[in-house]
Structures are given as structure tokens and as C-alpha cells.
């Protein structure tokens, strides 16, 4: 555990330094502390994806590059001794929080390793060995970020890494809760009470639901995906306010890293890009910065896999080309004047489009029907979700139809319903339909959507509580 804490600290310090360059330390110090580890992990993964693709065969490359950027950010924003002392205290808090979370979770849940986990270990730990080359078909079967964790784990003398990705995902979820509450709850006192209530509800369900609890000890990338997808969503909705916390580069980085967390991550990243570019006010410079930050690592990583021409269990060169092309569309639509309005409507168009395609599959393919029914069966009975979806499924659906329309409703709709439709469509096009049980990939992918469904309900409640006076004061605060 000490070595895992050491590695977590190294990544947290890196992320902490990088965030100095953003507006977050000034606007929300608590968010700065929460997001240090996820940001460190994101940049470490992005750099290593580029390094591995360029035949730099060591996981230390990403770490060194991340530290180079972190030191640059720290030096360029140095604000005197007084500031340095405050930042040092904040860093200690961040390190303490990460260490405590790691210890507590490792004490609560023992590691769970399935066949996929061993394959991830096998592939990840082979990175850095003299016989490792990028033509391994295993790289097309397992996602980059979790492989990267295992690769650096070997350097730190760890047999496997389970809890660090889990804590990273949890902190990313915590960060998104903080951003969503800041956006939809007013005044601040209400927001604090709401956050506490949400943590309590989430905590109760996490303790009593096997499917959620098991993710705390499961060696795979589900916690990471759940965390970074909800963080991506919160970045999309926080862009639509005057008090933007994330600049274009940070937004791009945190959205782009989703592509490296799962093999279908490129699809979810595209959903996020459609969502963020639906705020039509982006300047060309901002679009370029955001696009480069989001797409550079996925294009280089998946491009390299494409060049190698391997066909893995999940993705093939053809699917890589399709997904990469799709991921370029949001930026292109946002760039040109005559497609800008289309870009604004894209969340709605994407949701409608996915619904139409899914309906078409339902009418023409038995596999699609079977996969969809399996997903329903898993959500309600066989996927070890307890009463999670019985409770939040109907609430979210009913609020979606009859509840208050909230700001960025289209973004929420695209990322929750569109995300679910993407999972259902993957079940329709894969070789074998989804199967009954918790370990089914469709059931595990639904876990990625669980936090944002909760956040959606949370945002709706927040919006319903804002009185006109609160709204006034919030508006004044934002514009002043």
C-alpha cells in the first residue's frame, strides 16, 4: 500500500502543479484539491499514449513529461512566499485526502480480479520490457489508461494496481458533483447541504449495492470511465457560464482522456465534444485549442494501432477509422460559420439520431432486441444493482419528461440518454449479444452512466429550488 500511496502522491503533485495554470485555484480551492489526482492521471496517460505510440518504451516518459509541464506551470504562476505557503498547505491536504481514501478503500474491499483483469495485467506489465512492441493484438483489446497504470506499477514495484484508479475515479466524480452543485444550486449554503445529502444517498447505495461496491476493488477501468465521463459532463455544463473554471486546454484534456479509458471511449468522447461545442460562442482559437488538447493523444494512440493493423477482440482498423472520423466532426461543425447553428443543435440531433438507429436495429435485428432486453433484465434483477435502477431509473426518466427544464437540458439528455443508447447500440452490433449477469460488458458499461444519472436528478432538484431572488443574486454574482 505504501508504494501505491507513493505513486498516487507523485501523480497528485503533478496534477496539483498543472492546475496552478488554470483558474480553479483562485475560484474554487476545494475543487483544486479534489481534481489534483484526476488531472495528474489524465496528463500522465496522455503523455504516455503519445510516448508509447512513438516507440518510447517506458512508462516513466509520461511521468517526466507531466512533471516538466507541472514545474513550468508552477514557476510561471509563482506569486511570492505568502502564496507559496498557502499552496503548500493545499498540496498537503490533497496528498492527505488521496492517501486516506486509498487506505480506507483498501481496508473496505479486497481486490477483485477477473479474466479481463489478468489480461490487463499481462499487457500493461509487458510495456517497458525489451520484447514489447506496438503490434501486440492485446493493445486492441484493453484500454490505454488502465494498462498505463499497470506499466508504471511495475516500475514502482507493485504486482498490480487496483485502488489508485478507483480513487482517481471517485475524486473525478466528487469534482463533478462540486461543479454541478455550483452551477445549479444557489445560494452557497443550499449547495453545501445538497452536496452533503447527495453524498449520503450515494454512500448508502454504494454500501448496499454489490455492483457499485465491487467497483471499489475491481481491476478494470470502470471507475475511471464513470469518473472522467461525469467530469467531462460537468465541464460541458460549466462552460455555459460566465464563471468558467476550465480553459479550453483543460477542457480538451479532460474530455480527450475519456477516449483512452475504454476502447469505446472515442464514442463517448465524441458525445462530450458534441455537447461542449453546442455552446456556440467558441472562438476559432478556442476551438483549435480544445480540439488539439482533446484529440492529439487519441489520434496518435489509435492512429498507431491502426497502422499496426491488428484486429483485437473489440476494435479493428475499420472501427478505429470510423470512431476517429466521428470524433473530428464536432470540431469541424463548430469551426465553419454555415455549420455553427447545426453544432448548437447537435446534442438534440445526436439523441434523435441514436434513437432512430437503435429503433431501426430493434426492428431488423434479433440481436439488438436480445441485447436490449438483457440490459433491462440486468438493470432490474440480474446485474446485482439492488434497488439502484428501480429507484433512480424511473425518477430520472419522469423528470426528463415532466420535470423542470434546466439550463443545458439538451447536453444532459445527450450524455445520459445518448450514452445509454450508445451502450445499447454496441450490444446490437457486436458479434455476440449481451449476456445475463453482472460481468456482462453492457452491464458494466451502464456503471459509467450511473453517476451522471444521479447528477441529472441532482441538477433538476437544484433548479427547482432556486427562487427568483436567489436567481437574481446568483446572476449579479456571475456578471460582477
Amino acid at each position: 500500500m505504501i508504494r501505491e500511496i507513493l505513486l498516487a502522491s507523485v501523480l497528485t503533485i503533478g496534477g496539483f502543479g498543472i492546475l496552478l495554470k488554470s483558474k480553479i485555484p483562485e475560484k474554487s480551492p476545494s475543487l483544486w484539491i479534489i481534481l489534483s489526482l484526476p488531472v495528474g492521471v489524465a496528463l500522465f496517460t496522455v503523455f504516455n499514449a503519445i510516448a508509447f505510440a512513438l516507440n518510447i518504451n517506458t512508462a516513466l516518459a509520461g511521468l517526466f513529461l507531466m512533471y516538466a509541464v507541472a514545474i513550468f506551470c508552477a514557476v510561471s504562476t509563482y506569486g511570492g512566499k505568502q502564496n507559496f505557503y498557502k499552496q503548500f498547505v493545499a498540496l498537503l491536504v490533497a496528498l492527505g485526502m488521496v492517501s486516506i481514501l486509498l487506505i480506507v478503500i483498501s481496508e473496505l474491499v479486497s481486490p477483485i480480479l477477473t479474466n479481463d483483469s489478468y489480461a490487463i495485467l499481462l499487457t500493461g506489465r509487458s510495456i517497458g520490457s525489451p520484447i514489447f512492441t506496438m503490434d501486440s493484438p492485446l493493445l486492441n483489446s484493453y484500454p490505454m489508461m488502465v494498462l498505463n497504470f499497470q506499466a508504471i506499477g511495475e516500475i514502482f514495484g507493485l504486482d498490480y494496481i487496483v485502488y489508485l484508479p478507483v480513487v482517481t475515479g471517485l475524486l473525478a466524480i466528487a469534482g463533478s458533483i462540486s461543479i454541478v452543485s455550483d452551477t445549479y444550486f444557489s445560494p452557497k449554503r443550499n449547495a453545501r447541504i445538497a452536496i452533503l445529502s447527495l453524498y449520503m444517498v450515494l454512500g448508502i447505495f454504494w454500501i448496499t449495492t454489490w455492483m457499485l461496491r465491487s467497483q471499489l476493488g475491481y481491476l478494470n477501468s470502470h471507475m475511471l470511465m464513470a469518473g472522467f465521463y461525469s467530469l467531462g459532463l460537468s465541464i460541458c455544463i460549466s462552460r455555459d457560464s460566465v464563471s468558467q473554471k476550465f480553459g479550453s486546454l483543460f477542457s480538451g484534456l479532460l474530455i480527450g482522456v475519456v477516449a483512452l479509458i475504454r476502447l469505446e471511449g472515442l464514442l463517448f468522447m465524441s458525445l462530450l465534444l458534441f455537447a461542449i461545442f453546442s455552446h456556440g460562442y467558441f472562438s476559432k482559437k478556442q476551438i483549435i485549442k480544445l480540439t488539439v488538447a482533446a484529440l492529439i493523444a487519441p489520434i496518435i494512440w489509435f492512429g498507431r494501432l491502426l497502422i499496426e493493423g491488428n484486429r483485437g477482440d473489440i476494435i479493428s482498423p475499420k472501427t478505429i477509422i470510423l470512431m476517429l472520423t466521428l470524433s473530428l466532426i464536432p470540431s469541424l461543425l463548430a469551426t465553419f460559420k454555415f455549420t455553427k447553428q447545426l453544432s448548437v443543435w447537435m446534442p438534440q440531433i445526436v439523441t434523435i439520431g441514436l434513437s432512430v438507429i437503435w429503433s431501426f436495429y430493434l426492428l431488423t435485428s434479433d440481436k439488438a432486441v436480445e441485447s436490449s432486453l438483457v440490459i433491462l433484465s440486468n438493470l432490474f434483477a440480474t446485474g446485482y444493482w439492488g434497488s439502484f435502477w428501480w429507484t433512480f431509473g424511473p425518477i430520472a426518466l419522469v423528470l426528463m419528461v415532466f420535470g423542470p427544464r434546466i439550463r443545458d437540458e439538451n447536453v444532459w439528455l445527450e450524455l445520459t440518454a445518448g450514452g445509454t443508447l450508445t451502450v445499447l447500440l454496441l450490444g446490437a452490433i457486436r458479434t455476440n449479444p449481451y449476456r445475463i449477469g453482472w460481468g456482462d460488458s453492457g452491464n458494466r458499461m451502464i456503471f459509467h452512466l450511473a453517476p451522471i444519472v444521479l447528477l441529472y436528478i441532482f441538477a433538476k432538484i437544484g433548479a427547482s429550488l432556486i427562487s427568483e431572488d436567489d436567481s437574481d443574486s446568483a446572476k449579479v454574482k456571475r456578471t460582477s
Partner: protein
């Protein structure tokens, strides 16, 4: 007093105008927007898709609907009563909120969550009984974890290589190039197994045939490891700093170079 002064003193509508403005201003509820067609369309499309799923699921005779109904039947009481009740309550509270605002949405949703928790607790034992118990006392070392794995294939498959760590850690193991083992594993993947799980330093040796097992050399060497017999056997002959890999249909051999 001039007319304009009188008007400003007695007919000052500014506060009233402010109030009306406050009520009508679109900025008032920054988080609540009016519904437009483009916002309704995706929801309509979603509802239509779900209806199609239900229609196709029921109509098509060859789908596994009955099987799924059996699974759901287990929780009939909870699902059949709680889900519709929850939906109706939240829908009604949404309408009530639209009329009276305040906490008309918060309280019903919160009570549904509380009921959901209590309904869930009734089925908690069976929904938490699992092959992989998420307990505190499970194994932590990779070796113990793999040996506790529920399937024999994983125990012997990955377990064999993880056990080799004790004998091969830091040692050189030479594997052939472009060779397929009797388990269908190519030499590179074999190298990955030895590198990742046994922590050996794997090198590719182009100059030998792994099918020619040097039995004459091996007789003088002690068998220091004998892997599980669930899969093709794994034997290590001799104790040295470097080994060569050999294979036949039944057995994998690692033979010390000295």
C-alpha cells in the same frame, strides 16, 4: 410644484415596473428554460424507441422475453409496485412544482429515494450474495488472489505463470521467435507471460528449435518447479541465471542453460 415633479412624487411606477420586470424577465430563472420543439423532439424519439422495444420484445416469438420475465418475476412485488408508484409520484410532484414551486419536487423525490433504499434492503441478501464477495478479508497478494479464483482455467492458466515468479524473478529466459505453443500461444505472448507474471528478463533467441527438447541434458538437472496439471504441464529443470524454453504437446519446459 410642476407637473413632472408631482408625477415623480405620486405616480412613481418605478418599483412596480421593477416588480413586473422581475416576474416577466427571462433571466429570472436562469436554470429553468421554456420548452421548444427542438427540445421535445429527442424526448419524443426516446419514448418512441422504448415503445418499439416493448412492441418488438412482445411481438417477436423467438426473443427471450419469457426468460427475462422469469428473472424479473423474482422481484415482482418490488418492481411491479414500486416502479409505477415512484413514476406516478414524481410525475405528479413535477406538475405540482410547476404550479406552486417551493419544495414540491424535492420532498417527493427524496421520499421515493428513501422508500427505494428500504425496498432495496429487503432484497439485499440475495442481491449481495456473490462469487466474489466484496469483503475485507480477501487475499491481497497476486498469488493468493489467482489461487482463489473461481475458475480452474484461470487458476492454472495465469496461476502457473504467477507461481514461476519465485523461480524466475530477474533471470533471463530465452524464447523462440515465431513459434506457436501447444496451447496456441505465440512466442511473443509467451514472452509477455514470462515477463509480466514471472518477472523474468525475456529475450528472443532465433537460433534454436524449441521442439527439440534436450532430454539428455535434462536428466542431470533437478526439477525445481512442476506446474498445475490442469493445463499442459510446466516444468523447470535446474537452477541457473538463464533458461531456454522448450515445448511438446503435453509439457512446457524451461531448461537451465548450465
Amino acid at each position: 410644484m410642476s407637473k413632472s415633479q408631482l408625477e415623480s412624487k405620486y405616480l412613481n411606477f418605478q418599483p412596480l415596473k421593477g416588480c413586473i420586470g422581475k416576474l416577466r424577465s427571462p433571466e429570472k430563472r436562469r436554470n429553468i428554460k421554456k420548452v421548444s420543439l427542438i427540445e421535445i423532439a429527442p424526448i419524443a424519439a426516446l419514448i418512441l424507441s422504448v415503445l418499439i422495444l416493448l412492441f418488438v420484445g412482445v411481438i417477436k416469438p423467438h426473443t427471450r422475453l419469457n426468460e427475462f420475465q422469469t428473472y424479473l418475476y423474482k422481484y415482482k412485488l418490488q418492481i411491479w409496485y414500486f416502479v409505477p408508484t415512484c413514476s406516478v409520484v414524481v410525475a405528479l410532484s413535477s406538475f405540482a412544482w410547476k404550479k406552486w414551486r417551493s419544495v414540491f419536487l424535492l420532498l417527493p423525490v427524496l421520499s421515493m429515494v428513501v422508500i427505494g433504499i428500504s425496498v432495496g434492503s429487503a432484497i439485499s441478501p440475495e442481491q449481495n450474495e456473490h462469487l466474489w464477495p466484496t469483503d475485507r478479508s480477501g487475499p491481497n497478494s497476486l498469488m493468493d488472489i489467482v489461487l482463489a479464483h473461481p475458475t480452474a482455467k484461470t487458476r492454472s492458466g495465469y496461476g502457473n505463470y504467477i507461481q514461476l515468479d519465485e523461480f524466475l524473478h530477474g533471470k533471463v529466459v530465452k524464447v523462440p521467435s515465431e513459434f506457436i505453443t501447444s496451447q496456441g500461444m505465440d512466442s511473443k505472448t509467451l514472452g509477455f507471460y514470462l515477463d509480466s507474471f514471472a518477472n523474468a528478463k525475456v529475450e528472443i533467441d532465433h537460433s534454436y528449435d524449441p521442439l527439440i527438447v534436450p532430454f539428455s541434458n535434462m536428466t542431470s538437472k533437478e526439477i525445481i518447479f512442476e506446474g498445475s496439471s490442469d493445463s499442459p504441464k510446466f516444468l523447470i529443470f535446474g537452477n541457473a541465471d538463464s533458461y531456454h524454453y522448450f515445448s511438446n504437446k503435453e509439457t512446457n519446459y524451461l531448461v537451465a542453460d548450465q
